[in-house]
């Protein structure tokens, strides 16, 4: 398998970088929506190789980062109910809610289990027919179809005590909310590769059409990202705005119709709460009435009271792209991956974790 090397070829990278340096004359700020991009950018040291005119700004990052405090509090409250097994992706475990994290709830006796896919959660439900198995459904358009598939499977098998707390979110409406807030002077968007594989590059056409905003959809290898940056720099220099598919080995204009149909069958689009963006219309997925019996929000109506976010935490500003992590007063001093205050320091794809883990020699540079 030479696949990885092909997209990490130092000579090809050099050529792309030379091209970017030659073309870039004016300052442009590009947002990478996806935390996978943020980590790849840091891990391969791409920021420092770009010309000073090209600034990269992290956006919403990942589902963990944008999950609202209140939703997390609900999940923790459900995990503490007797007879519940709460299944979750590992990154959610350490995110502090208003009173403790899922990890702390687990240490105090709640049955919280890490799974790597919804099907693992379903398997736990099969093995424990006498328990209520709740899957903490966080994710973007990449994850939601797999959750839909698991629900259809549960229905087909007649698994009775399997539930999903659907906190799934849609990315294009969030991008729109960031642009509508007008707080960040962006000159281009590095479009999320995996999400766009599902939703299709056409889902981003509103960016050039309504905002005159260039967008380049990128994969996660260093050359993928450099190709997208090169396309965005070219468009910015020429005053053009288009959607460029720099990840054509995976992304089609219309996306993955099978996945989209599965999602459509199980979920309805609804308003959702986002950390940093507040309540965004048409940005979340809830279970359709036909699947209501799997809905953990209906089966376990917990009272959590008002959420109490950490007063100094600036994760909301980080996901909006308003703030670079080192400018948060808690960063590295109070908030570290070992003792995270906010989700962006917890998640493997969080911007704060990337800055912390791969921090440049000159911290703020």
């Amino acid at each position: 398998m030479r696949y990885l090397d092909e997209f990490r070829d130092p000579q090809l990278a050099r050529r792309l970088l030379d091209h970017i340096w030659a073309r870039s004359t004016r300052r442009v700020c590009l947002m990478e929506f996806c935390g996978g991009h943020t980590h790849a950018i840091f891990r391969h040291g791409l920021r420092q190789m770009l010309p000073p005119t090209v600034e990269l700004r992290s956006g919403p990052g990942c589902p963990v980062c944008v999950t609202a405090d209140r939703d997390l509090d609900r999940a923790i409250a459900i995990a503490r109910l007797p007879n519940v097994i709460l299944t979750t992706f590992g990154d959610m475990l350490k995110v502090p809610g208003s009173s403790g994290s899922l990890q702390e709830a687990r240490a105090e006796g709640a049955d919280v289990r890490i799974v790597y896919s919804t099907l693992d959660a379903l398997q736990i439900a099969r093995e424990h027919p006498d328990r209520d198995v709740v899957f903490l459904g966080i994710g973007f358009e990449t994850t939601a179809p797999t959750v839909a598939a698991a629900l259809l499977q549960a229905e087909a098998e007649g698994i009775r005590r399997f539930y999903v707390l659907s906190l799934h979110k849609l990315t294009p409406p969030a991008m729109r909310a960031i642009l509508d807030s007008g707080q960040v002077g962006l000159g281009g968007i590095i479009g999320p590769g995996h999400v766009t594989t599902v939703v299709g590059s056409a889902a981003w056409e509103f960016l050039p059409r309504e905002y005159h905003m260039p967008c380049a959809v990128a994969g996660f290898e260093p050359l993928d990202i450099l190709r997208a940056v090169a396309a965005l720099v070219e468009m910015a220099e020429e005053g053009r705005a288009e959607v460029v598919n720099a990840y054509s080995r995976s992304v089609r204009p219309q996306g993955n119709p099978v996945a989209l149909a599965m999602m459509e069958r199980v979920f309805a689009v609804d308003r959702a709460d986002w950390r940093g963006l507040g309540s965004v219309p048409q940005s979340g997925l809830t279970l359709r009435p036909a699947y209501a019996r799997f809905d953990a929000a209906l089966a376990f109506p917990v009272e959590t009271g008002p959420s109490r976010p950490h007063p100094g935490c600036r994760c909301g500003d980080v996901v909006r792209g308003v703030l670079d992590p080192p400018d948060c007063p808690l960063f590295r001093r109070v908030c570290t991956p070992a003792r995270p205050v906010g989700p962006c320091m917890v998640s493997a794809e969080g911007a704060c974790a990337a800055w912390y883990t791969y921090g440049q020699d000159d911290e703020d540079g």
Partner: protein, 347 residues
């Protein structure tokens, strides 16, 4: 909220260090323990002229207990043999303590013990003391093993975490991440085109060959070798950070020089892990002054357990306490210590 033990306290990263330094050393600290080397090197009480002794212990709680390339028994022998070997000692005696869960099939225990015997023979050590406890079903996960070991350190060999000096070159004995990714993919049921296999192996044979090569070299000698470590939990990145901190030096490594098997890399990409943080059970890092590097590398490559050995970096006086990585693309970034848990119960 009162603090409780979390799985991350056992990951070998920052939280493990916090526990060791904030609790164990606080109560149990003494100059020998405080060195925090893989094995304690001590003068045997009352003896004279017989060289020093290396003494170490380790517990094994890995799940699953059988995996491609090894099992908990082989691991329990290799782990302790390797901790002794890293201090330069020739391992001699091991003890083995078993904690068995009620209901464990006897055939599985026999398989594990037979594997321990075979590994001990290969490593040239004898298991001379033991203990067995059985706990109720659910109070342990099938089988836990503790081993302790004693070895003899030859006179004239001085190794330690704090002895690494600017100018030293860093040698790695082979590919990284094989053990951790094997266990991880077993747990996740992942299948790859080329199957993963743990690198679990005793390293004392390789170390003997390395020490002999240094002794035979014209312009080197044991003095050229400053430290050896086996990068188990927390991987290569964690060991490099520990050395940088304890020796007060900076470390520079070349990402492109670190050998990683394709299957390991593919598995890491899939699971979002960095092979530099993934555990190894049959690899070592050696810190050696430049005149010793060439004979040492040649000796490692001539040995079955070091064929893919490489010089992966060097030690500097700059940025003391920190590890810098030059990426494949030529950029530079910090290689930090693992912050939380990456893989639970891999050893």
């Amino acid at each position: 909220m009162d603090e409780t033990i979390l799985l991350a306290h056992g990951s070998g990263g920052q939280m493990s260090h916090g526990l060791i330094e904030g609790l164990f050393l606080k109560y149990l600290g003494n100059p020998i323990l405080a060195a925090l080397d893989d094995a304690a090197v001590v003068d045997p009480p009352g003896a004279s002229g017989g060289g020093r002794l290396a003494f170490t212990t380790d517990s094994y709680v890995i799940s699953p207990i059988f995996f491609p390339g090894g099992d908990i028994g082989k691991l329990a022998v290799c782990g302790t043999v390797n901790d002794l070997a890293m201090s330069g000692a020739t391992p001699i005696y091991l003890s083995a303590g078993f904690i068995l869960e009620e209901g464990l099939p006897l055939a599985e225990l026999e398989r594990v013990v037979a594997s321990m015997a075979e590994t001990a023979r290969a490593a040239g050590v004898s298991i001379v003391a033991g203990d067995t406890k059985v706990v109720e079903h659910g109070k342990a996960d099938r089988l836990f093993i503790n081993t302790a070991g004693i070895g003899r350190v030859p006179a004239g060999l001085e190794l330690g975490n704090d002895r690494v000096r600017p100018g030293d070159l860093i040698l790695l004995s082979g590919t990284v991440g094989d053990h951790g990714m094997t266990i991880m993919s077993q747990r996740e049921g992942l299948r790859f085109s080329s199957p993963l296999q743990s690198d679990c192996a005793p390293l004392n044979g390789l170390v003997t060959a390395m020490l002999a090569a240094l002794l035979a070299a014209d312009d080197a000698g044991w003095g050229a070798l400053h430290c050896m470590r086996d990068p188990t939990r927390g991987g290569v990145a964690t060991v490099l950070n520990e050395i940088a901190a304890r020796s007060g030096v900076g470390i520079e490594v070349e990402e492109a020089a670190i050998p990683v098997r394709e299957a390991v890399r593919a598995a890491c990409e899939l699971l979002g892990l960095d092979p530099l943080y993934v555990a190894n059970e049959g690899k070592l890092l050696a810190f050696v002054s430049p005149e010793g590097a060439e004979p040492l590398l040649a000796a490692m490559r001539a040995h079955a357990d070091g064929r893919e050995a490489a010089i992966i970096g060097r030690v500097t006086a700059e940025h003391a306490g920190r590890v810098a990585l030059r990426t494949v693309l030529g950029a530079r970034r910090v290689l930090s210590m693992l912050a939380g848990e990456q893989l639970p119960r891999i050893c």
